[in-house]
Symmetry: none
């Protein structure tokens, strides 16, 4: 199973709506399938030209390792060299800061991931969670 | 000036609508700003995982060289080695087949480009043109 | 809008003049458009052969993230892994040290960036600011 | 010995002047030292964002192989696979089409190369030759 384009568009719309209401900076939202390929991406006017790469990388990294950003951060704290190596392997598409969120179905199946870049990392993540929940799906951030 | 996210979404919606009515294979549509960065991208369910790269590359190439796919194809026919070199310089993000379409404003200003991949190249291009025109913008394909 | 070649040449001339009068090492100056492509570059005799890449990278990084070197440095101090990832994504074209300066018009519009390499980072930056101001434009360094 | 920044600036000024008088498209001119590093580069307003890479690549290729574009073209005609391999080795910075011109001193010493992109290849080359000769140096194109 994989996230559908319709679900991805719902997520993007709701995430950007969340950011707009909260007064966030312009955001870029990327939705990836479980294989790490982009399903949909939207960059708001004024969001910098590197943001698509960062947003995609945030989602790619959590999928690539099957870990949340917080788990990756803990692993990097435990072994900075591990992070250096996997970051190089992935061409930089691995992040420790929040903003890459795994997406699961109601039954727990992995459907993909959402990455957001543009504001503070926790705000990016909050927008991703709002988008995922608006699509009736489960957001996995690793936050307790 | 650059294409806005709202214009990009209109283009994507109308391009996919065109493909659906025409019975095309699932499509991936990428909309890029004049500097070659993605503004919005949508991959229909069933469109392969390399399609985002191909769609993005089609749009990138026409922007990078300021030439239509047909002009690039004529240049490549005249000098295959020229194409080999520029394709390597651009990391493969240059195509000679149709499906990358420059977008201009009513006053002729370059706003970006649309790239589509998924069906026959001329069908990809037709969907891009339909999308661009639905947004009230001018599509430049180089076709006579 | 984008910086013009004429403005870029004025910036380069004034930056090198500043460096000469201040007794700086030979400098390399790169002027980039808002999309991160080079408009003009000059490397003074005796400036090492990697300086064009460094000067270009300093300007590229502040444009790519829409942040000053000081903001990037603060972000990297907060999360070294964030910097590792974005530096890899950008192929190294992101710097935390001063010397990449955003260029805005009198009305505040982003026109591009200037990157200088060759002397101490704060001297590189001072030369960039001198160049930008000589062109009647606004330099954004993030320094208080 | 290497070309100086002053010589490079003279070359660029005269090459762009030649293009302007001849009614060429906007040009990008790159001047490289014998080691293949950029000394100076200028991109006229309206010249596409990939032109700096193409102009630099044209100059880089003739230096990298120590051959003119025409010699490289003859070699590529003799063995297309040779060209494919060296183009890949150089990351695309090798061209068979005219527009990369070796620069020699009056005594025949290699000082660098000039690459121009933006108009027809022979026009690009003519502008490079005009620039090099304006600096009192010898242009080597391989044309008979």
């Amino acid at each position: 199973m994989t996230i559908t384009l319709e679900q991805a568009n719902t997520i993007i719309g709701a995430a950007l709506d969340h950011g707009g209401k909260a007064g966030f900076n312009p955001l870029t939202v990327a939705v990836l399938d479980p294989g790490g390929a982009v399903v949909a991406l939207a960059r708001q006017d004024g969001s910098g030209f590197a943001r698509p790469d960062v947003a995609t990388g945030k989602a790619y990294g959590v999928l690539a390792l099957g870990m949340t950003n917080r788990q990756i951060a803990a692993r990097a704290a435990d072994s900075p060299e591990f992070f250096t190596s996997v970051a190089a392997l992935a061409g930089g598409k691995i992040f420790t800061v929040p903003g890459g969120v795994l997406v699961r179905s109601a039954s727990g199946e992995l459907l993909g991931a959402v990455g957001i870049s543009g504001d503070a990392s926790l705000n990016d993540e909050a927008a991703a969670v709002a988008g995922i929940e608006a699509a009736g799906l489960t957001a996995v951030t690793g936050a307790e």
